[in-house]
Symmetry: C3
Subunit: 99 residues, 3 copies
C-alpha cells in the first residue's frame, strides 16, 4: 500500500506546549503531536484503533504514551490532489474510500 | 485549567505572506498567524471573544493588532487523543465540551 | 486583489513522505505539499481548477507535476480574523464569499 503522506516538523522543546487536560500525564521534552488530516468516513472505533496503533508503534520507537497527542480533521474526496493538479478521487483514477 | 496545547513554528519574514484583504491593515515583519484546531460547539460570539482576547493578550506581548491573523477549524470529540493512544472524550476520561 | 495568505515551511527531504497511492508518480526530493485552509462554498469544479492552476503555475517555477500534493480543508465565515481580533466577515467589514 503506497498511501503514506507525512510531513515531519521538528521543534525545540519550548515550542511545544501540551498540558495534560487534568488527566495526570507526564510529558517529557520528547512530546510528539500527530495532526491527522484525512477523508471523512472512518467510524469512532476505526479512529480509536488509529490512536492505539500509533501509540503502540511509536512506543516501539521509544515514544512514551504520555508524550503522544493526536488530533484528527476530515474532508472529502474532492479535497485531494495526489499529483499533476488532478483530483484523482473525482476523476476516477482512485476509488474514493468507502466506495 | 491544564488544557493548553500549542505548537509554535518560527518563520523568516519572507516565509509568511499575509496581505490585508483590502482592509488597509499595516503588516510588519512580526506577523503572527494563529491556526486554531479545536472541537465544534462554540458560538459565533464565543469565537469573536477568542479573537479579541487573543489580540488583547498578544498586544501586551508586543504584537500589533494589524499583525494578527487567526483561522479556526473544528472537529468532534472522537477526534482527540491526549495521551496513551486513548480517545479520552469517547472513553469517558474527559467530559466532552458542552456536555 | 489583496487576499493572499500563505505560510511556507521548508523541510529536509527526509521530513516529507509522499508516496504515490499506487498511481505511479515519480516524486523527487523537491516535493511540494500545499495544505489549503479556506472557506466552504467552492464547487468541485472550482476545486479542480485550483489544483490544475496550482500545478500549471508551479510548473513555471520548476516544480514537477509529480511532486505536487494538495489537500483542502474548509470552515465558515465566522472562522477568520484578518487583524485586530475582529471577525471581519461577521462584523460586516468584508462580504462573506458567495454572498
Amino acid at each position: 500500500m503506497r498511501a503514506r503522506f507525512q510531513i515531519i516538523t521538528q521543534h525545540d522543546p519550548d515550542e511545544i506546549i501540551a498540558l495534560d487536560a487534568g488527566l495526570g500525564f507526564e510529558r517529557t521534552s520528547g512530546t510528539v503531536i500527530v495532526h491527522i488530516f484525512t477523508q471523512r468516513g472512518r467510524s469512532i472505533q476505526d479512529k480509536q484503533l488509529v490512536y492505539s496503533t500509533l501509540a503502540q508503534q511509536l512506543a516501539e520507537a521509544g515514544v512514551d504514551g504520555g508524550d503522544l497527542f493526536v488530533s484528527y480533521f476530515e474532508d472529502g474526496p474532492e479535497d485531494w490532489s495526489f499529483a499533476d493538479g488532478r483530483a484523482q478521487y473525482i476523476e476516477g483514477d482512485l476509488p474514493a474510500p468507502g466506495h
